[in-house]
């Protein structure tokens, strides 16, 4: 997916935090500071399925199986959000990027940090129940920071993916390790930063590694035993596709298709290193028993000559069967991507009008291109794409050795940051970056899976201003409803609430609330470090809380912190 900005190609390697032999080895010890609250309850399948209507708990990383990040409680509204004050700040022991979406069950919060620490705390006071430190294996290979985006929960068990590409199962009550399973080989570039999804006794998890020449996948593991149930490879053996001339919005990508066809006929074995990482939690539609996710960029990012064809299913929205992991459909945004303007932000299931004005089930995705794409959920067919949420220029100029300028820059648009949806207003809310960049290509053979393999470089343009934009899109029309420009690029993710509020954080430490209809800024609080994580909301003893991690960000080098801030109305 993504690249820390600024840097010349070779330099990207180091800044990304490719950790190495012996990096961050820690013990498995857990520390009980206070006995676990008796309020902790087991999470049933019914609770997971009904989470969208449960204002008490936040038990999915993105709020519910539809990934809407829409909190159904409405105690905090435009009328009282101005009185929101911090109730406590929980300091972790890890001063590094925080991208965690805390899980809250009956007043107990589970949060993660970089390097795979997990904490269980009291969600009203911040008192710590336990602290789990993952024992990292000797080899880790990861792009874009040692991040973790949170745990998933089912029954009495928490699930986390690790930088050394394992799935670990923890006892929610004690933090004790129940089992762990190697998902893939970190020596080949695989790592895990996403929060998994648990559904019907299956843990669904993808993989990072599109910067290292992996073969991407989503796997399903048995939630009880860790046994592998199915694997869907995001890269099929025949990856050539339909030789698409244009992107999904109809713009010419300037491919030399004849040359690509000739190269593909000679050698198509590169599917094994073609990338297609899956960075974010899938959405699940239990009515149709379908899993939706997006696959990221092809490897190497910028050097396309050694991977001719459409590079299926990179840069695509993909639907697979929940029970068997078999292909249902895909929709490719950019065939043969050489800009890393891939698909990362998690898909969201909601409803919107189709072309004839009829309200239908849709799945939407916020792209690095800066468009929100609205697809028919049953077929994947594109219904519409939104107005560009940030400037686009010179698309799709091909990268050159000297560098070709194109907007958006390689981080987007919308990066991994989850969008939120207000289903009453039919609006999506997306955190965007504006980072002008030049795209440089460089011939580069597969380096063995352990070295950053971009096949070139992205460079920011020092003379050009960078900024961010929080954008509300009307999903029925694709028109921008409102936008709010921020002084820095936005990475982190959005929370929407039934109080018709939208919460979003900034790299300069501000956490802000907006009117969901108009975008009017209603409240802000400075957390003292980058707020580059998605907020959550929950209720304890009849009081609504808002929680967000302020740990800064590796990718945009936002000031690091180590804390989760929890707010309530005074």
């Amino acid at each position: 997916m993504n690249h820390r900005i600024t840097i010349a190609g070779a330099a990207v390697a180091l800044a990304l935090g490719i950790s190495g032999v012996g990096a961050q080895e820690t013990g498995t010890a857990t520390v009980s500071a206070k006995p676990m609250s008796g309020n902790l309850t087991s999470i049933s399948d019914a609770m997971l399925q009904n989470a969208a209507g449960d204002p008490k708990n936040w038990i999915h990383p993105n709020g519910n199986y539809s990934n809407t990040r829409y909190y159904p409680g409405a105690q905090i509204t435009a009328a009282n959000v101005g009185k929101l004050v911090p109730k406590f700040v929980f300091q972790t022991a890890v001063l590094e990027s925080m991208e965690t979406a805390p899980i809250v069950i009956n007043g107990i919060m589970f949060l993660t940090t970089s390097f795979n620490h997990v904490y269980a705390i009291d969600a009203t006071t911040g008192e710590e129940f336990w602290h789990y430190k993952h024992k990292m294996g000797p080899i880790t290979t990861f792009c874009c920071g040692p991040n973790n985006r949170g745990v998933a929960v089912s029954g009495d068990t928490l699930y986390m993916g690790t930088l050394d590409a394992k799935l670990v199962a923890l006892d929610a009550k004690t933090g004790k390790l129940l089992w762990e399973k190697q998902i893939a080989d970190p020596d080949k570039g695989y790592s895990e930063t996403m929060a998994p999804a648990v559904v019907d006794g299956k843990v669904l998890i993808g993989t990072n590694g599109g910067e290292y020449g992996i073969r991407g996948f989503v796997k399903a593991f048995d939630a009880k035993t860790g046994e592998l149930l199915w694997t869907f490879y995001t890269i099929p053996e025949k990856s050539e596709g339909v030789w698409a001339k244009n992107d999904l919005t109809g713009r010419d990508m300037h491919r030399n298709i004849d040359a690509e066809k000739a190269a593909y006929a000679k050698d198509s074995s590169f599917y094994q290193t073609l990338g297609g990482g899956v960075w974010m939690t899938p959405a699940v539609d239990l009515k149709t028993r379908t899993v939706f996710f997006v696959a990221g960029n092809p490897s190497p990012d910028l050097y396309g000559a050694i991977r001719p064809g459409d590079n299926l299913y990179t840069d695509s929205l993909i639907a697979v069967d929940l029970d068997k992991g078999t292909y249902k459909w895909h929709s490719q945004y950019i065939a043969h991507d050489v800009w890393d303007l891939d698909a990362v932000s998690p898909p969201i299931l909601t409803q919107a009008k189709d072309a004839s004005g009829k309200m239908v089930d849709v799945v939407i995705h916020g792209g690095k291109t800066g468009h929100v794409y609205v697809h028919d959920r049953a077929t994947g067919k594109l219904i519409r794409f939104s107005e560009a949420m940030i400037p686009q220029e010179n698309m799709w100029v091909l990268p050159t050795k000297e560098g070709a300028r194109m907007l958006p820059g390689a981080n987007g648009g919308v990066e991994w940051s989850p969008m939120a949806v207000n289903p009453k207003l039919h609006m999506s809310y997306a955190a965007n970056l504006h980072q002008p960049m030049t795209y440089h290509v460089e011939e580069a053979a597969y380096p063995g899976g352990s070295k950053l393999w971009l096949g070139g470089a992205f460079k920011t343009i020092p003379s050009e201003e960078q900024w961010g934009q929080l954008v509300a899109v009307n999903l029925d029309t694709g028109k921008i409803a409102w936008k709010h420009k921020t002084p820095q690029p936005l990475i982190g993710g959005v929370l929407a609430t039934a109080g018709d509020l939208v919460f979003n954080g900034e790299a300069n430490g501000w956490y802000k609330a907006y009117d969901a209809r108009t975008g009017k800024e209603l409240w802000k609080y400075n957390c003292g470090a980058g707020v580059n994580s998605p907020g959550v909301s929950y209720m304890v003893d009849g009081k609504q809380y808002i929680a967000v991690a302020a740990g800064g960000n590796n990718q945009i080098d936002a000031k690091r912190g180590n804390s989760v801030f929890v707010f309530a109305v005074q």
């Binding site: 840097i7 010349a8 190609g9 070779a10 330099a11 390697a13 180091l14 490719i18 950790s19 190495g20 032999v21 012996g22 990096a23 000797p138 080899i139 020596d187 190497p300 050097y303 460089e442 011939e443 580069a444 053979a445 380096p447 063995g448 352990s450 070295k451 950053l452 393999w453 971009l454 096949g455 070139g456």
Partner: protein, 199 residues
């Protein structure tokens, strides 16, 4: 240049002599302990990995990540050297990790390199221009997969830069081949002078 050529020939001759005398060991065998495998390495790379021979790089104090990846690349054929290829071939992943760990923990001895001050200055200026420090860090201290090259052997650095430039060495994921492609022979010489003189 002529002078250097002569020196090079002499150096190469010495090394060949050394090997001809039987001091270059056979590749490590699977039954060996890590300590015995270390001995195989140090036969050429010097005690604790502080090489005394111009063409053998210093391993002492090198980043473990880099050492491991280079061994792996020799073993899996992404980097080639007539002497290293057979050495790396029998190593297991655990061997490579252990050897990398061992040499990364040894103290690098000062290079004792007698530099040409004018070339060092030109090398420093070229290093600033092509942004070496963005990956190798200031003073070429290295990090993660990016090697420490401060105080590395002059002849070795020169050969590696020339190999990257000519694409004889391509296990760099494109980064060094890209940079080296912009360097002249004189640049390479100056950079090697500057780097060898750093420690």
């Amino acid at each position: 240049m002529l002078f250097r050529t002569v020196l090079l020939s002499v150096t190469a001759g010495l090394c060949l002599t050394t090997i001809a005398h039987g001091q270059a060991p056979p590749p490590p065998s699977t039954g060996m302990s890590i300590a015995e495998k270390v001995d195989v390495c140090t036969a050429c790379h010097g005690p604790n990995g502080n090489s005394a021979s111009p063409q053998y790089p210093v391993l002492a104090g090198q980043n473990a990540r880099y050492l491991y990846l280079q061994l792996k690349d020799f073993k899996e054929g992404r980097r080639h050297d007539p002497q290293m290829d057979p050495m790396a071939a029998p190593l297991t992943r655990d061997d490579m990790l252990a050897l990398a760990d061992y040499f990364s923990k040894q103290k690098q001895a000062p290079s004792g390199f007698k530099a040409d001050a004018a070339k060092v200055a030109l090398g420093r200026s070229k290093a600033d221009e092509v942004l070496c420090a963005m990956c190798h860090l200031g003073e070429f201290a290295g990090q993660n997969e990016i090697p420490r090259v401060a105080g590395q052997k002059y002849e070795y650095v020169k050969k590696q830069l020339a190999d990257f430039k000519a694409r004889r060495r391509t296990n760099d994921a494109g980064n060094m081949t890209s940079v080296a492609g912009t360097l002249s022979d004189a640049d390479i010489d100056n950079l090697a002078q500057y780097i060898a003189n750093l420690y």
